[in-house]
């Protein structure tokens, strides 16, 4: 089999995205290599969430180019993009209230071998096993976030798009999420993480993209993070 060039697991060129009449993204360019962990930083409304949604084809209209492992997806319907091996965890977590915890876990389609089994997931998230017959939205915020993460690890997809997974969670759970992200990276997952600030992923991320008004304003590699703190704080308005 022809292995795609690893530096191009995800490659976005000149991406424009629209919701009805509003033009949100104005030419995003970014690449994520296999096994990399990259964050998308920026203020609210800068276009970070829209970038993830555009990758999944969940915006009204998009143009430019998005390739997954070298395959052009700009004209593909969402379900076919997902089948290329992408796990998507939306900002609002998207736990289905009409489904039990286990049904939520089993919902995403397994697209290839190599995903985690239900038993492995329950070992990793024992809370979910205890509550597997409960309806999804009966869980606490932290448990819901765990569930939203766990269910995309079953599919065999290697590219994870995670949107603000620490938002509104207690510090102890945020730490647990941090450890989880670390484990996933070690397992070889490629991760695109949308975050409000860079502290959560500072130790884990290989690179940080800063998005401002729908374009990439800056890219900061891990080893320049310490020297770029002031600049980043300015971008993020902290």
């Amino acid at each position: 089999m022809l292995e795609p060039r690893p530096e191009e697991m995800l490659k976005i060129t000149g991406l424009h995205a629209f919701y009805e009449e509003s033009h949100i993204l104005h030419g995003i360019d970014l690449t994520v290599g296999a096994g990399e962990l990259v964050t998308l930083l920026g203020r609210n409304g800068a276009g970070r969430t829209t970038t993830l949604k555009s990758i999944m084809g969940l915006v009204g209209r998009r143009s430019g180019s998005i390739t997954i492992n070298g395959i052009e997806t700009i004209a593909m319907p969402t379900h076919r993009i997902a089948r290329l091996g992408i796990g998507y965890c939306p900002e609002e977590r998207g736990i289905f209230s009409n489904l039990t915890v286990e049904e939520n876990l089993l919902l995403p389609l397994v697209v290839r071998e190599g995903g985690m089994s239900l038993a492995e997931l329950y070992e990793m998230f024992p809370n979910l096993q205890e509550r597997r017959k409960s309806m999804g939205t009966r869980l606490s915020g932290g448990e819901q976030q765990m569930l939203a993460m766990a269910r995309i690890l079953r599919t065999g997809g290697k590219l994870l798009l995670l949107d603000e997974i620490t938002e509104g969670l207690a510090p102890v759970i945020v730490q647990a999420m941090g450890r989880l992200i670390g484990q996933l990276k070690e397992r070889g997952f490629t991760i695109v993480l949308v975050e409000q600030n860079f502290h959560f992923a500072a130790d884990l991320a290989d690179r940080h993209y800063v998005i401002e008004s729908g374009v990439i304003a800056d890219m900061i590699p891990r080893d320049e993070l310490a020297s770029s703190t002031d600049k980043l704080n300015q971008y993020l308005g902290v």
Binding site: L58, T78, A82, G94, L106, L107, V111
Partner: protein, 301 residues
């Protein structure tokens, strides 16, 4: 007034017989509304079409094929009519409803209402409005069964049993299986279900087709009981919409239970005060709307 057990029970059983039709039809409406967010006004016409597939299959298909002795029998009609009408439903979804998906669902209602008028109009033009009898009731279902408290027509008992089987199987598939979990999830957040690799547009098409097939199935069941007429659907659908409003849109079990109960209430009213039997459902609808506007089984949204 003296109410004998026998009179009450026989009317309640006949009411249950109407109730299963309400149940199947409102179930189809609930399934379609859940996933497509469309109040499917053409449902009554699809029910009528189901009955006509059975009737015409029996009377006209043979001569049309040049084999005058060929009659599509009842059992075959129970399979063929849902298939034909289900495919028609798929066609309607693919060519029309799909284009309306990004607009307010009022447009879906208007479109299906228009379709219902067209279909009914065409059939009124060609067929007898006062109805044609369907004579292909199978011999095994002739006669009556002794239920202990009354003699009940065998055919009506069959209708009740098979309808309950169909309703509860549908409920089971939706609420208890993997396929059903896709459907429930699609009802709640179709975009995210797509992002999980599931072909939601296909699921929507098939769901609409299934709803249409259910309506046609009910139409075939109805053919030997009521006369087959172009207006049978529009008469039925008004009551069914009241049932749906009372039960609350979107709940599968709610649609089934409400349909059955209201059929029986209607039957019971026939004994107590017959003139009210055709309006009692609407009275209940008014009361329910006053007390619980989302319907008995509806969830606050």
């Amino acid at each position: 007034m003296e109410l004998s057990f026998h009179t009450v029970m026989s009317q309640v059983m006949l009411g249950l017989n109407n109730g299963v039709f309400y149940a199947i039809l409102s179930l189809g409406l609930a399934v379609i509304f859940g996933l497509l967010n469309i109040v499917n006004f053409v449902h009554g016409a699809l029910y009528m079409l189901g009955a006509y597939v059975a009737l015409l299959g029996y009377t006209m298909l043979g001569p049309l094929l040049g084999k005058p002795d060929f009659h599509l029998n009842y059992w075959a009609a129970l399979v063929v009519a849902p298939l034909v009408v289900g495919l028609l439903g798929i066609g309607i979804e693919r060519t029309m409803l799909r284009r309306l998906r990004k607009f307010d669902h009022l447009y879906g209602l208007l479109l299906t209402f228009g379709l219902a008028l067209i279909i009914q109009g065409v059939f009124t033009n060609y067929f007898n409005v006062s109805g044609d009898a369907y004579d292909a009731k199978p011999e095994v279902l002739e006669g009556a069964v002794n239920l202990g408290f009354m003699l009940f027509p065998k055919y009506r008992l069959w209708v009740i049993v098979i309808s309950l089987v169909v309703c509860f199987s549908t409920w089971f598939v939706i609420e208890r299986t993997k396929l059903g979990s896709y459907l429930r999830a699609g009802t709640e957040n179709p975009e995210l279900v797509k992002a999980f690799g599931i072909n939601v547009p296909l699921m929507i098409t098939l769901t609409y087709g299934y709803g249409a097939a259910l309506a046609a199935f009910a139409g075939v069941l109805a053919a030997p009981i009521y006369s087959v007429s172009p207006v049978m659907g529009s008469e039925m659908i008004i009551t069914v919409f009241a049932v749906v409003v009372i039960g609350g849109m979107g709940s599968i079990m709610g649609a089934i239970i409400t349909g059955l109960l209201l059929g029986m209430v209607e039957g019971f009213t026939k004994v107590v005060y017959a003139p009210a039997s055709s309006t009692v459902i609407f009275l209940i609808m008014v009361l329910v709307l006053l007390i619980k506007p989302t319907g008995l089984f509806g969830k606050e949204s």
